[in-house]
């Protein structure tokens, strides 16, 4: 037992003596939380748009005023012909143009009908859709005002309530994802590299011929990363509760238990990778391709899984981060108990078991 503790001490020294690696271990989670919490969002505010008001009458002025008052748009009122819109889009300074026809007010009053044209720079379809939606909503709202003045029958009003995230900020969606990614990064990549490094340098053989149980060697390698990971879970939780004002609705104990389960799954995946690779660079590339990319793409927190083609949807089921993301989201934001997430928990446990069994089968304690 004393031997085991000494081994763990040695591994801690390995991890802690290198400030550049520490930057990765603690810098990445902090940077990610800050970026996701404060910098990244899909919400579009203050987009530069032009309004080409050919009407210049009462109705068009009312509408322009309404648009200017919205926080979404930064309005420039100019006269342009269509060629100039193209040039403005190409230089990238303007995202949308609204063209108000001449005689706008006149048509509305006498013909009860008029048209507007929205031209969007759809090279970014997301921004284009969102901005068009905002603009349409404002115009419809204006139309609603006109209707109210005329006395409108049969009005259906829909009252909306946004659950869990009433301000529609991005953080609640990203934080559980960041947690999954950071834990994977540390556990899979760092573990596999640190084991393979000893292989590459030849020091692993020295350890294996010692009277010490080879599995203890591997386990002692993992302990520092478990500790670092748990510290990271704490850091991420503290940052998200105190800095990002996220709720922590469910049980902390359950959250840490599930995190530990996920850490074990990730560690066993790292172990598996280290048993099948021989150099640091291959271990790195393998963990990168086999773990980081699928996690970012198919984890569900950056891109909605239900939109993907069926093949990717099927593949996403074997990505551990997907299940962990669901679990964390349920505990932190919805405050659900184990009753709701036992299925996901079982899947993670099954994956861990599978990785461990395969690694043990692959693990060679003899020289080639």
């Amino acid at each position: 037992m004393r031997q085991f503790i000494n081994f763990i001490k040695k591994e801690f020294y390995h991890v802690l003596r290198d400030p550049k690696t520490l930057l990765m271990l603690f810098g990445v989670p902090i940077a990610q939380i800050v970026l996701f919490g404060f910098a990244l969002s899909n919400e579009i505010k203050n987009a530069n748009i032009v309004i080409i008001d050919n009407g210049m009458d009462m109705a068009s002025q009312q509408l322009v005023y309404k648009i200017k008052a919205s926080k979404y748009f930064n309005v420039k009122e100019v006269f342009m012909n269509p060629d100039q819109i193209d040039a403005a889009f190409k230089s990238g300074t303007v995202k949308l143009a609204l063209v108000i026809p001449s005689g706008f007010n006149n048509d509305l009053v006498h013909l009860h009908k008029s048209g507007l044209q929205i031209i969007a720079d759809a090279s970014d379809p997301n921004t284009a859709t969102t901005l068009t939606n905002y603009m349409t909503a404002i115009i419809e709202d204006y139309q609603g005002q006109l209707w109210q003045e005329n006395g409108m029958p049969y009005v259906i009003n829909s009252e909306q309530r946004m659950l869990y995230n009433p301000e529609l900020v991005g953080a609640p969606n990203f934080v559980p994802g960041v947690m999954a990614m950071v834990l994977l990064l540390i556990c899979v990549m760092m573990t596999s590299i640190s084991i393979v490094k000893e292989k590459e340098l030849g020091t692993l053989e020295v350890l294996l011929v010692s009277p010490f149980n080879p599995f203890m060697v591997i386990i002692s390698k993992m302990v520092p990363y478990i500790v670092v990971s748990l510290i990271n879970v704490c850091i991420i939780l503290l940052l998200s509760v105190f800095l990002l004002d996220l709720p922590m609705k469910g049980s902390l104990l359950l959250l840490f238990g599930e995190s530990l389960l996920f850490i074990i799954t990730a560690l066993s995946l790292g172990l598996l990778i280290s048993t099948i690779t021989d150099t640091q660079q291959t271990a790195m590339t393998t963990s990168f391709l086999a773990m980081l990319l699928p996690t970012m793409l198919l984890g569900g927190y950056l891109f909605p899984i239900e939109n993907m083609p069926w093949l990717l949807r099927v593949i996403s089921n074997i990505v551990p981060a997907k299940w962990f993301y669901i679990i964390i989201k349920s505990i932190m934001l919805k405050g659900l108990g184990i009753k709701y997430i036992w299925k996901e928990t079982l899947i993670l446990a099954g994956m861990a078991l599978f990785f461990i069994v395969v690694s043990i089968k692959n693990f060679k304690i003899r020289l080639q």
């Binding site: 910098a39 990238g92 005329n150 909605p304």
Partner: protein, 372 residues
């Protein structure tokens, strides 16, 4: 000059000797370009809606039918129990609950006014926002329809209507891949170019071969240029493969000039490889190089505007993006490939990026020490 040629020959030999790296250079871009754009799709469709219909009238049924006939919504549950539907949201089986109160039809006719209740799972704010906007539009359309139907023709009090015509330029079918592919190509270039160059000098240091170069009279800047050129050339190969895949698989053919695109790619690679080499001169082991590259590449990726628009970032973050080479190239790629922007549109990007490249490469030369 002759020294440089010899150095280049050495670098290329080293590159071609490592079959694993070669495989990554050729296969990775193809696979990633095939998979990434399909996964990276923000378009919101397939919103699961649970309907709690306390009314069960003809009108409420018509409304539900109208919602489902749009291709955005899928019915996740149809019930008379709010609790059950709310449970569906907790289990992520439903994204939206629409509650139709009892007496919906009767009150609408009697009071001319009736409320509907919509609860949205807003953990994913974007999805919630767009989903509820879709639902609102459908409800409003439905409202107009029944109004047309119910109002006696004589009494029609003509309501002023505004028709909105929308045109989407450069990408009229709103295909998301068209937008993502050019950006992902830049991402690939960055990961491959950045990683390889960051590992390069460190690897020589770990193996010990760098000592042999250090004892020769090779000038420091010649040594760095010797490292720079092969990676720029390899980057261009990856770039060409990527453009080929984009054209063949996605039918994306640059609207602007190809020459301009390549010109810009060279400037970008110059900057990127300079950054990689700088990291390399700062690290002692490959693990350190990897940690540093990782740290920066993750931040670069997130801040580049590839996944979330730079316009929606707060001011301080937008300032940071100005120091990220990736954001310039992604911007330029989208401008040239999708909109066909000209040289004068991207001149500013060009100058900034080239300036960054000079600084990074100069720094790498200064920081590379032949003696320890």
């Amino acid at each position: 000059m002759r020294t440089l040629l010899f150095l280049l020959r050495k670098e290329f030999r080293q590159i071609f000797r490592d079959k694993g790296v070669l495989r990554i250079i050729i296969i990775a871009p193809i696979i990633q370009l095939l998979v990434l754009p399909r996964a990276a799709d923000y378009e919101i469709k397939n919103i699961n809606i649970a309907v709690v219909d306390y009314d069960h009238s003809r009108v409420s049924e018509q409304l539900v039918n109208k919602i489902l006939s749009s291709h955005y919504f899928k019915l996740a549950g149809y019930d008379q129990d709010y609790k059950k539907s709310y449970d569906l949201i907790e289990r992520d089986k439903a994204d939206i609950v629409l509650q139709i109160p009892s007496g919906f039809e009767r009150n609408l006719i009697r009071d001319n006014k009736q409320d509907l209740f919509v609860a949205v799972n807003a953990i994913n704010g974007t999805k919630a926002n767009i989903g509820s906007a879709y639902l609102n539009t459908i409800i409003m359309d439905f409202n107009n329809e029944i109004r047309m139907k119910w109002m006696p023709p004589l009494r029609i009090n003509p309501m002023p209507t505004i028709d909105i015509a929308t045109s989407n330029w450069y990408n009229p079918n709103m295909v998301y891949a068209v937008f993502m592919v050019p950006g992902i190509l830049v991402l690939l270039l960055t990961m491959i170019g950045g990683n390889l160059s960051a590992f390069n000098i460190v690897k020589e240091r770990e193996i010990g071969t760098i000592e042999q170069i250090n004892v020769t009279p090779i000038k420091k800047h010649i040594f760095i240029i010797g490292k720079l050129v092969p990676f720029i050339i390899m980057g261009l190969v990856v770039f060409t493969i990527g453009l080929g895949v984009a054209a063949l698989v996605y039918g994306i053919i640059p609207a602007g000039s190809l020459a301009l695109l390549y010109f810009f790619a060279v400037i970008y690679l110059f900057t990127l490889v300079g950054f990689g080499l700088l990291i390399s001169t700062y690290s002692e082991t490959q693990q350190q190089a990897q940690s540093l590259t990782f740290f920066f590449i993750i931040i670069f990726n997130l801040m580049s505007g590839l996944f979330t628009p730079i316009d929606s970032m707060p001011h301080w973050a937008q300032i940071i993006t100005r120091f990220i080479p990736l954001s310039y190239f992604i911007d330029v790629m989208r401008m040239i490939v999708l909109k066909g922007s000209h040289f004068h549109d991207v001149l500013y990007h060009c100058l900034v990026l080239f300036g960054m490249g000079l600084v990074l490469n100069g720094w790498a030369v200064l920081n590379y020490r032949k003696t320890s």
